[in-house]
């Protein structure tokens, strides 16, 4: 018979050693599968993956920007997750923020000074993202609706709303897109600092990471939301207004998603499409979980996911493989990482049934 037995607490160093060991095993398994299914040299494939991300300074900067954008959405979801409010509406909240930014750029682009415009974009995107998250939060707090379904459905509403405005602001007419907004005037484009158009986003998200870390671990509000997440009745017992904390936290969560939307529209894409969030709202869920909701660790987990994504794209083009092959490798690695947690918490014991004696 097989029994699953909980382990004694494992020292942190040992647990980390196991985690890195597992990643090495995962890479080996990926290599074997690559060699068996494609006949390619796995080492060369890994080399190509690294090339895809680090091949040139431009590639490095693009990777960093993408990591920053994914991290931004992940940071947004984290306070909600710490409160055990499963906000799966990151996608919609990012879209809402992006929509607000685009609206400012298109409608006010040549009417107000650029600094005022960017300030307006900032305010309206945060407000739009916050609103998109506050609606399900309100219903959760008031009527205990299921936040997972509610936030998920808000995504579709946001997508349709964006689709509608893309048609309204179609440019040029008949293209079905809004094109690059304010291409000539660059009104509402976030400033390029130090001659590097990726730098600003990276810096802003780095600051946000530090801020979120402090907010969650050292602020009174961060403490309150942890108490609400762990035990709503304890929160009530000490006089914390649970519904108020839920709405407040989701306003923060949604506002940061809206901020990510503004970074996307005003900072990198300079356009608005229904797919501008590009699944980050969902990938961010994985980033946050892999890091166990620790903002510092999330830097690593968002990097891992983006690196795998770019690497997968690179091997697809270099070797003429299907893009899905990269996804398979990503899947295998994640499977190993998540599986590790089980073996860090439990161990497996085999016993011989006939004799009634247990041996390890």
């Amino acid at each position: 018979m097989i029994h699953v037995v909980k382990r004694k607490e494992m020292p942190f160093a040992q647990a980390m050693a196991i985690r890195f060991g597992i990643i090495a095993i995962a890479l080996t398994v990926c290599g074997v599968i690559t060699a068996l299914t494609t006949g390619l040299n796995p080492i060369a494939v890994y080399g190509t993956m690294i090339q895809g991300s680090f091949g040139s300074p431009r590639k490095v900067w693009i990777l960093l920007q993408e990591v920053a954008l994914l991290l931004c959405v992940s940071l947004a979801l984290t306070p909600a997750f710490r409160m055990k409010f499963w906000n799966l509406g990151g996608e919609g909240q990012v879209l809402a923020g992006g929509l607000a930014s685009a609206a400012c750029m298109i409608l006010l682009g040549d009417k107000v000074p650029n600094a005022v415009l960017i300030l307006l974009m900032f305010v309206t995107s945060l407000a739009a993202g916050a609103l998109w998250a506050a609606i399900p939060a309100f219903f959760k707090a008031k009527f205990n609706t299921n936040e997972t379904l509610f936030t998920l459905m808000m995504n579709y509403v946001a997508t349709q709303l964006v689709a509608f405005f893309v048609i309204v602001w179609e440019n040029p007419k008949g293209s079905g897109t809004v094109g690059i907004i304010n291409q000539s005037s660059e009104a509402g484009w976030l400033p390029v600092i130090a001659g590097n158009k990726y730098m600003l986003i990276v810096i802003l998200v780095a600051l946000l990471t530090a801020g979120m870390y402090v907010y969650l671990n050292y602020s009174k509000q961060g403490y309150e939301l942890s108490v609400v997440g762990e035990s709503p009745s304890t929160a009530r017992y000490v006089g914390i207004k649970v519904s108020g904390v839920i709405v407040r936290t989701l306003i923060i969560s949604g506002a940061i998603c809206g901020f990510a939307g503004m970074l996307l529209v005003g900072g990198s894409a300079h356009t608005l499409t229904t797919s501008i969030a590009a699944g980050r709202g969902f990938t961010a869920v994985m980033v946050a979980w892999l890091a166990k909701f620790n903002p510092a660790v999330m830097v690593g987990s968002s990097f891992l996911l983006e690196f795998m994504g770019y690497g997968a794209g690179e091997i697809a083009t270099t070797y003429g493989l299907n893009q899905s092959f990269g996804d398979i490798l990503t899947g295998i690695i994640l499977f190993f990482i998540i599986g590790t947690e089980f073996f860090i918490t439990y161990r497996i014991v085999f016993s011989h049934k006939e004799r009634g004696v247990v041996e390890e």
């Binding site: 009174k220 017992y237 247990v358």
Partner: protein, 513 residues
């Protein structure tokens, strides 16, 4: 008796859960036709050990022998096949089914079900042993003691020869306990083997033939009950000499004043069921007011109403600041109550679910009530950390440090952390619900001592308890609840266990039905 072959032998059984060693190298024998008491403090591994015999857990190491032959019990069904059945503290019955339906549930007889025949068989078992249960009664209509009876009949119906009962009297009144003991004796005389898990010495004395003592997961010894004294058993259970008397200093009459006045309080729960019905009483400074009652008689609602956590249907709860100023507590939440300058401490029944946050460390739990202090948006952990260290020190909390999550501590230590925090606020009113539930003898006495010290400081202490012996020894006055109504308020110094027991089951006490 010991010349015979044991019905069950446990040999060198060990079991651990993560870092906690629940049982370590335990060996004991159970003989046919005896009542064996498995005695030990909470957390001494009694239930875990018996769970291994009944197939809930599987031992890490060691061996179980039945009639001398090694067996492997991997599931409750395996246990049944060997004639072993266990009645857990939480009953496993389907509410909308009748007694008989629950009893035959899960049995795989050939052909169709014959519920009539089954009911007749149930009736016969009941008559044989003197159980008081109607085979056709629905479970939701039953009292706790009747549900327990159904569980016992369920095992007998399946032909169990060895019955294990886990703390069977925890939910019973004294009268129901007597009835249970009578049928258990009948069963023993019929040749059944009974193991009761308990930490109450009076029960061991009254019912068992032999007693095996466990301490900290290990076997420490066994005695023939008739030849042992209560004191000997306690010493063996605790591991050293203990005194069994609870202090009860006389209240300081000079400063005595009415602190909390509850008038005509009625509370309904969400489903509209009346939980408290027109309850009125007063709590005075410098006394311990006990609240007795069968669990679920409205104790929880009463305390939560005073603490500002319960919506109230009607009535009033007044707090006397001094003889002139009176504050109404109804309609207030805990924050508003504190804002009025009323320091009201509350040790709730559900320690980790309500009083503390299990995943947070001692420091963070200490600041649950005080984290708002100061204007800074950031928390100050220096004070709470200091308080945590103080509580660990003074109450001898057994913890690796103040950075350990409280859920990793044992029940007694969790309670010390909670009580320590609540008392540190220097309250004027201290509400406590089942403050010693699950605590070992030492920790229990420490808690009684702390409550007495609060009483000495002039605090109005309200103590909801379940152990009548303790209520009678500790409290100055005892309010008895019965079905949400006040059955009476008696003097703790003059009342008897029997009187309180009768009042718990019937308004105003009186003769038993």
């Amino acid at each position: 008796m010991h010349g015979k072959q044991p019905a069950v032998s446990l040999r060198n059984i060990s079991k651990s859960f993560g870092p906690i060693q629940a049982n370590n190298d335990v060996s004991l024998d159970i003989y046919r036709g005896e009542v064996l008491a498995l005695l030990g403090e909470n957390g001494s591994g009694k239930t875990t050990l018996m769970n291994m015999l009944s197939g809930i857990y599987y031992p890490d190491t060691g061996q179980i022998l039945m009639d001398g032959k090694p067996v492997s019990i991997g599931s409750p069904k395996d246990a049944f096949d060997h004639g072993v059945g266990m009645i857990h503290q939480h009953f496993k019955l389907v509410n909308v089914f009748t007694a008989t339906e629950n009893i035959v549930l899960g049995l795989k007889d050939e052909g169709g079900f014959d519920l009539k025949a089954a009911a007749a068989k149930v009736k016969k078992i009941c008559d044989d042993y003197g159980f008081d249960v109607d085979p056709n009664q629905k479970v939701y209509d039953m009292s706790v003691s009747q549900k327990q009876t159904v569980e016992i009949v369920k095992l007998l119906y399946r032909g169990a020869e060895i019955l294990i009962l886990d703390e069977p009297t925890a939910v019973l009144t004294p009268q129901e306990t007597d009835k249970l003991f009578a049928v258990l004796r009948n069963m023993r005389d019929d040749g059944k083997t009974i193991v009761i898990i308990t930490h109450k010495l009076t029960e061991v004395k009254e019912l068992s033939d032999r007693v095996v003592v466990l301490r900290k997961g290990e076997y420490v010894g066994e005695m023939v009950t008739a030849e042992a004294t209560t004191q000997e058993m306690t010493n063996m259970m605790v591991g050293r000499q203990v005194t069994l008397n609870i202090d009860r200093p006389d209240p300081e009459m000079k400063y005595r004043m009415e602190r909390i006045r509850v008038k005509n309080l009625t509370i309904k729960n969400r489903e509209g069921v009346t939980k408290l019905d027109n309850v009125s009483f007063s709590a005075y400074t410098g006394e311990i007011l006990g609240i007795a009652g069968i669990s679920g008689s409205g104790q929880k609602e009463l305390l939560e109403a005073i603490a500002g956590l319960q919506t109230v249907e009607s009535g009033s709860i007044e707090y006397n600041v001094d003889n002139e100023q009176v504050e109404q507590l109804i309609g207030m939440d805990p924050l508003k109550i504190a804002g009025m300058g009323v320091v009201l401490s509350f040790v709730p029944e559900d320690r980790l679910g309500m009083g503390l946050v299990g995943s947070m460390d001692l420091t963070d739990n200490m600041m649950l009530r005080s984290f708002r202090n100061g204007l800074s948006p950031l928390t100050d952990r220096k004070e709470p950390r200091h308080l945590a260290e103080l509580v660990v020190d003074e109450l001898e909390v057994n913890t690796p440090g103040v950075d350990t999550p409280v859920s990793k501590l044992s029940g007694g230590n969790v309670q010390k952390v909670l009580v320590g925090r609540e008392i540190a606020a220097a309250p004027t009113v201290l509400l406590s619900a089942y403050a010693v539930r699950g605590l070992d003898v030492n920790s229990s006495y420490l808690i009684y001592d702390l409550l007495n010290r609060q009483k000495g400081n002039g605090v109005a202490v309200i103590y909801v308890g379940e152990d009548l012996d303790v209520l009678l020894e500790l409290c100055d006055r005892i309010l008895v609840l019965c079905g949400g109504k006040v059955s009476g308020i008696v003097d703790g110094r003059t009342t008897t266990k029997n009187e309180v027991g009768l009042m718990m089951t019937k308004l105003g006490g009186g003769e038993e039905r």
